[in-house]
C-alpha cells in the first residue's frame, strides 16, 4: 500500500541524488554522517517557533529572536566541527578546491570577489549572521556538486570560510575555516 513519506525521510532523500538536469548525483559516502547530522538539526528546528508571512516586520523579528534563543539553548554545547566533522570537512574542502581551481574557475572566483565584512563581528558557532552583512553568492556550479540542503538551512561563504547557516534564525550552525583556496 502506498504510504506518504515522512518529512524526515523526504529530507534524507534530498541528499540521495540529482534534483536538476544540470546536476550529477552526489556521492554521500565521503561525507560520512553529514546528512544524518543535518536531518537531526532540521528536526530540532522544526520543533521551534516558525516564521509565517506577516505585515508587521516586528512580528517577524520577534519570532526570529525566539527561534534563535531556543536553538541556542538546545545547542548550547555545540562546537565548530560538530556537523562539518573532520571527515565531512575534508570532502567539502576537496570539492570546493576542485571547483575554485578547475575549468571555469575564473567565473567562480569572480562570484566571490567582493567579500564584505561587518566591523567587529567574528564568525562563531551559535553566533548571529548580522543583518547588515551582505550575502556572497554561493557559486551555482559549486552547489551542483555539494549535498543539497533542506530549506531550513543554507551554505554561505564569508571571506574564505564556508558556513552552514539557519536561514530563519540567521544563526551560524557550523563552519569550515579557510575552506576557499
Amino acid at each position: 500500500m502506498w504510504k506518504p513519506l515522512s518529512s524526515l525521510t523526504a529530507l534524507t532523500l534530498l541528499f540521495a541524488g540529482a534534483v536538476h538536469s544540470q546536476s550529477a548525483p552526489v556521492d554521500m559516502q565521503p561525507y560520512g554522517d553529514f546528512s544524518e547530522k543535518i536531518t537531526a538539526y532540521v528536526k530540532l528546528h522544526q520543533n521551534m517557533p516558525s516564521l509565517r508571512p506577516k505585515r508587521q516586520r516586528k512580528q517577524i523579528v520577534d519570532t526570529r529572536a525566539a527561534l534563535r534563543a531556543k536553538i541556542r539553548q538546545a545547542r548550547s554545547t555545540a562546537r565548530q566541527g560538530d556537523i562539518f566533522t573532520p571527515l565531512a570537512a575534508e570532502e567539502f574542502r576537496r570539492v570546493i578546491h576542485t571547483v575554485f581551481t578547475g575549468a571555469g574557475a575564473a567565473a567562480v572566483r569572480d562570484t566571490v570577489k567582493d567579500p564584505e565584512s561587518v566591523k567587529g563581528w567574528r564568525l562563531t558557532v551559535n553566533g548571529d549572521y548580522p543583518e547588515d552583512l551582505p550575502v556572497t553568492t554561493v557559486p551555482p556550479t559549486l552547489l551542483l556538486r555539494l549535498p543539497t540542503l533542506p530549506p531550513e538551512v543554507t551554505y554561505r561563504i564569508i571571506g574564505r570560510d564556508f558556513v552552514l547557516q539557519d536561514k530563519e534564525a540567521r544563526l551560524v550552525i557550523d563552519f569550515i575555516p579557510g575552506a576557499l583556496p
Partner: protein, 296 residues
C-alpha cells in the same frame, strides 16, 4: 547645553520614520511625459532595484513613480533586490520601504520582491513583498508569467523548480527577474558569467524573452543575447555615477542619476520607458515578442 542646541536634539530625537517623509525635497525637473501607449487590457508594471536606502533620492524616485501612476496606472512593481540596505528593524522597513512607497501602497499597488545580496532572506515573510515565505516563486498577470529567482543561492532545488515551472508555462510571455545581471557593462561588478552558465541554457531552451536585474547601480538595456532581452535597473535608490563602460553590450544606458523602469505588454508587443529622478525619459521603445507571428 544651550537651549537652542537642546531643542535641536529633542527635535532630532522626535524625527521618527513616520515624520521623515517630508524631509525629501521634491526631485528637480519637469513633469514626466508618458510614452507607454496605455492600451486596454495590457499588463503594466514598474521595475526597481537597489532602492532601499531610506535616503532622499529613493523618496524622490518613489514620488516620480507615483506621478507616473497618476498619469498611467500600473497595478504592480517588481523589485530587483537590495530592497532594504543596512539595518532591517521595523523602523528601517518603514523608512526604507513603507513611507517612500506609501502613496503606491495606499493605491493598492502590489510589490513582488526578489532578494539581493543586501537583503535578509526573512524578507520573504514580509507581507508587503508578496513572496509568501518563498525565496523564489512565480505568478501570472494576463498573458505573462513572471519568475522571481534568488540568485544569491541558485541551488539544484531552485533550478529544478525553475525548469519545471518553465516547462509547464502556457503564457506566451515568460519574464524572469532577479538581482545579479548575467550581462552588464558596468565597471563595478560586470556580468555574472557563473550565474549565466546555469540560467542562460534554461532561458534559451524554454523561450524566456525578457530578464530584469539590479545589482549594478545604473540603468542599462543590453543588446539581446541569444534572443533574450536584458534590462538592468539598479538605480532606484543607489547610484554609481559614470559607471557604465563601452563593452559593445549596451543598446541604451543611463548612469547619471537614479531612475525607474516602466513596462507595458500589450498582446505580443512590449513597450518600455526608463524615467530619471528628474522626470526625464532616458530610454524608451518597444519590441515584439520573439517568435510571435508577424502582425502584417
Amino acid at each position: 547645553m544651550h537651549f537652542i542646541q537642546r531643542a535641536a536634539v529633542v527635535f532630532l530625537l522626535l524625527l521618527t520614520p513616520q515624520t521623515m517623509a517630508w524631509q525629501a525635497a521634491p526631485a528637480p525637473g519637469g513633469p514626466i511625459v508618458v510614452t507607454l501607449p496605455g492600451k486596454p487590457d495590457s499588463v503594466r508594471f514598474v521595475a526597481i532595484g537597489d532602492m532601499g536606502t531610506g535616503e532622499a533620492e529613493q523618496y524622490q524616485v518613489a514620488a516620480r513613480m507615483e506621478e507616473f501612476r497618476l498619469k498611467l496606472p500600473f497595478p504592480f512593481v517588481l523589485t530587483l533586490g537590495d530592497n532594504i540596505y543596512g539595518g532591517k528593524s521595523p523602523a528601517d522597513l518603514r523608512k526604507k520601504f513603507e513611507i517612500p512607497y506609501k502613496p503606491l501602497l495606499d493605491a493598492g499597488v502590489l510589490f513582488y520582491a526578489s532578494l539581493g545580496n543586501h537583503d535578509d532572506t526573512n524578507e520573504r515573510f514580509y507581507k508587503f513583498f508578496n513572496m509568501n515565505g518563498k525565496q523564489f516563486y512565480a505568478f501570472s498577470k494576463g498573458n505573462v508569467r513572471f519568475f522571481a529567482l534568488d540568485t544569491d543561492y541558485l541551488d539544484p532545488k531552485q533550478l529544478a523548480w525553475f525548469e519545471q515551472e518553465l516547462a509547464a508555462t502556457t503564457q506566451p510571455w515568460k519574464i524572469c527577474y532577479f538581482h545579479h545581471p548575467l550581462y552588464s557593462s558596468a565597471a563595478y561588478h560586470g556580468s555574472s558569467t557563473e550565474l549565466r552558465k546555469v540560467l542562460e541554457p534554461l532561458f534559451v531552451k524554454y523561450g524566456v524573452q525578457v530578464v530584469f536585474s539590479g545589482h549594478e547601480h545604473v540603468y542599462e538595456r543590453v543588446k539581446p543575447q541569444k534572443g533574450v532581452y536584458y534590462f538592468i535597473e539598479g538605480a532606484a535608490g543607489e547610484l554609481r555615477a559614470g559607471n557604465l563602460r563601452q563593452k559593445g553590450l549596451t543598446d541604451a544606458g543611463f548612469d547619471k542619476d537614479r531612475s525607474f523602469l516602466a513596462v507595458e505588454i500589450a498582446g505580443d508587443d512590449l513597450y518600455f520607458q526608463a524615467v530619471s529622478r528628474t522626470g526625464v525619459t532616458v530610454d524608451s521603445g518597444s519590441f515584439r515578442r520573439p517568435g510571435a507571428p508577424d502582425p502584417r
